[in-house]
């Protein structure tokens, strides 16, 4: 049994209906519907091979590649163009050999291509006489919205701009789904799209022809660890049953079903595999109560350990800071800087560290480590403020009494600063509950998972399934801390 699964079992605690002797396979998914679907198919096929399999939402390409190469996941669906342009940043003649150097193998294509392309509303395109990308040269005023990856990658907007000589400067960074919505309501003219996106059909958008063949072929394939082949050859064999079986219309239809027909990822992928006569063991869709129950428990398993760990570290740090002014400024500045690191960057930075420390770079440990760092500032700052704000006369009174330095801290200063420290912990708890939704990026589950999946398919009820309990939890935490504060206040009259 891997260290990952030991950790998972420890975290889940008593939930032991999983037979531990089964081998475990973890499939990663990027944060968009197509990837969720393919990963779910992979998980159900691995179960068919007798493995304990699950799919985990891990966000973006760098996260998945890191998780794959350091062994947190066994496989994930990728696109050939992304491998050469973004992962290897090279176009080797022998792609298999280049991947093998990283201990990674590649399956044959599933059959469909999901190319990058540019899309616009048909009526807007017609009014400006645009049908292909080179037509854009004469329309410098077009408003563009791209996802950050596309905007910054050499195989995205910068390369496209150079090759076609495009003049547009009004480029905004936007979430993929929001960009679609903006194009539909005409607050944007142009966005990047994937050729299998369900939105193309749904909104009847025009896909501009890539007349200079800039975009590479994005063939969908599996990337899997070479050691999976040795560890569980049957799982690899099962995964490869998807090769050549999924056409572009199939994928577009599945994406549309999930995004616009209110069907579930698990249901759509199961139905597709069945329609192709591929037998598998699909993931059963849990009921709403089961879903909220498990996301709540996952969320608490992120919030509570990270908050406790932050208290254990931040309160002593605050004490230290209040005693040594220069060190204090450094500590406060450092925890302040931590607060400004974007969560995705912090997670990516932490993955190798948590892999080394806990044996797993994805899931709860990484999310907890990030939340721990984010929770430090409010607690350190309030401990510092609480202690430095004690009236000098009281401190002198304690000293004159003949108490030791530690006794003064323990019996006088900390109790006097307690309300301020507690307020810091309350702030940290509320921020932590909100921020713990980053668990959705890193396979740690929690309320972030339905929120991110809901955003991906503009599915408001699904977003609310995460957002409402998260808000309730924050309100409850606030109320609980408020009750403790009042209790302390009453004791002091």
């Amino acid at each position: 049994m891997s260290r990952t699964s030991i950790f998972a079992i420890l975290l889940i605690g008593g939930c032991s209906e999983r037979p531990v002797e089964k081998p475990t396979v973890v499939i990663g998914a990027k944060k968009f519907t197509e990837s969720y679907l393919l990963a779910e198919m992979g998980a159900s096929l691995c179960r068919q091979a007798g493995a304990n399999a699950e799919s985990k939402d891990l966000g973006s390409t760098p996260t998945l590649w890191l998780a794959l190469t350091q062994g947190d996941i066994d496989a994930y669906p990728e696109y050939t163009g992304t491998i050469t342009r973004q992962i290897l940043k090279d176009n080797p003649t022998d792609l298999d050999a280049a991947l093998a150097a990283h201990g990674v193998r590649m399956s044959k294509p599933f059959g469909f291509r999901n190319n990058y392309a540019l899309g616009m509303r048909k009526d807007v395109a017609a009014s400006r006489n645009i049908s292909k990308i080179s037509d854009l040269r004469n329309h410098a005023d077009l408003r563009c919205g791209f996802i950050p990856e596309f905007r910054d990658r050499p195989d995205g907007w910068p390369g496209l701009k150079r090759v076609y000589g495009l003049p547009q400067e009004n480029v905004r960074e936007m979430n993929h789904t929001l960009a679609y919505a903006a194009v539909v309501d005409k607050s944007l003219d142009l966005t990047e799209i994937y050729t299998t996106d369900g939105e193309i059909v749904q909104h009847d958008l025009l896909v501009l022809r890539d007349d200079l063949d800039f975009f590479p072929a994005y063939q969908a394939i599996w990337l899997y660890r070479a050691d999976l082949e040795r560890r569980l050859p049957s799982a690899v064999a099962q995964l490869r049953r998807m090769e050549g079986r999924i056409g572009e219309p199939d994928m577009q239809a599945m994406n549309t079903d999930v995004q616009f027909r209110d069907e579930t990822v698990n249901g759509v992928s199961a139905a597709f595999l069945a329609s192709k006569g591929i037998d598998a063991v699909p993931t059963v869709d849990p009921s709403l109560a089961e879903r909220v129950g498990s996301t709540t428990s996952e969320h608490l398993q992120l919030v509570i350990p990270s908050l406790l760990a932050a208290m254990l570290v931040a309160i002593p740090l605050g004490i230290l800071a209040s005693n040594r002014m220069r060190l204090g400024q450094t500590v406060l500045a450092t925890t302040g800087v931590l607060q400004t690191i974007p969560s995705l960057a912090l997670l990516l930075f932490l993955m190798p560290l948590t892999k080394w420390l806990f044996g797993s770079g994805i899931g709860a440990p990484t999310a907890i480590a990030a939340l721990f760092l984010y929770s430090l500032l409010p607690i350190v700052r309030n401990t510092y403020t609480g202690l430095t704000g004690i009236a000098p006369a009281l401190r002198e009174s304690a000293e004159a009494l003949g108490l030791t330095r530690w006794a003064i801290l323990w019996r006088v200063e900390l109790p006097l600063a307690a309300p301020t420290i507690l307020a810091g912990v309350k702030t940290a708890a509320v921020i932590n509950i909100g921020t713990a939704t980053l668990g959705g990026f890193i396979g740690a589950g929690g309320y972030g998972r339905p929120i991110l999946r809901g955003i991906d398919k503009s599915d408001i009820p699904m977003m609310l399934e995460g957002a409402i309990p998260a808000a309730l939890m924050a309100v409850l935490a606030e109320a609980a801390f408020g009750a403790v504060e009042r209790w302390i206040g009453r004791r002091r009259g």
Partner: protein
Amino acid sequence: MFHLDGATKRFAGRTALGPITLATPTGKTTVLIGPSGCGKSTLLRLLIGLIEPDAGAVYFDQAPVTSATARAIRLRVGYVLQDGGLFPHLSARGNVALLARHLRWPAAKIESRIGELATLARFPTDALDRYPQHLSGGQRQRVGLMRALMLDPDALLLDEPLGALDPLVRAELQDDLREIFRTLRKTVVLVTHDLGEAAFFADRIVLLKDGAIVQDGAPADLWHRPADPFVTRFVQAQRGPQLPEAA
């Protein structure tokens, strides 16, 4: 009991006190008096090592007061601040018992000692569980005194102990305090700026000005044998009530 030998204290390069040489007689009450900023509180804080002299030395019971010995000495000296210096997070009882609890006295011993002190300081037993905010100024001062006396110290230092009280409460507490000093026969050093109060308590008065001793002697000496014109001015500045002439 306390002995300063050429003790000097500077703050920000400016001499705040000294050099001062002074010994306080055991079992007697010494009152330090002088205008604001004369260094009387600084002197008091030197005595229990809350601050250290820049030059000269301070002794308690023949032993030098240094940062290494200060804590042991503080356990033998009670210290009372204006308004009691009570900790707001502890009840009256908690404030009085704090040090004894830290020293792991048995609970029964603590309770009986608090009982004795409440009687001595005429503090109502039913108010022991109140927090400082819910006590009157006079009561807070009595709790501060009980706290200082908890370990039955050899000496008692009081820094403007009655400064924040209204006249009636103040007079009552002055009577009680003097009674306690006489009963317990402690070495007392009291700081005040009120000459009437100083004369009321003192076996001996030390008048300070600009960090130096101007006159040191029995209270009556200030009136009858002033050391210099400043003493006379200081004595005359403390005026009693002037009755309007009857119409």
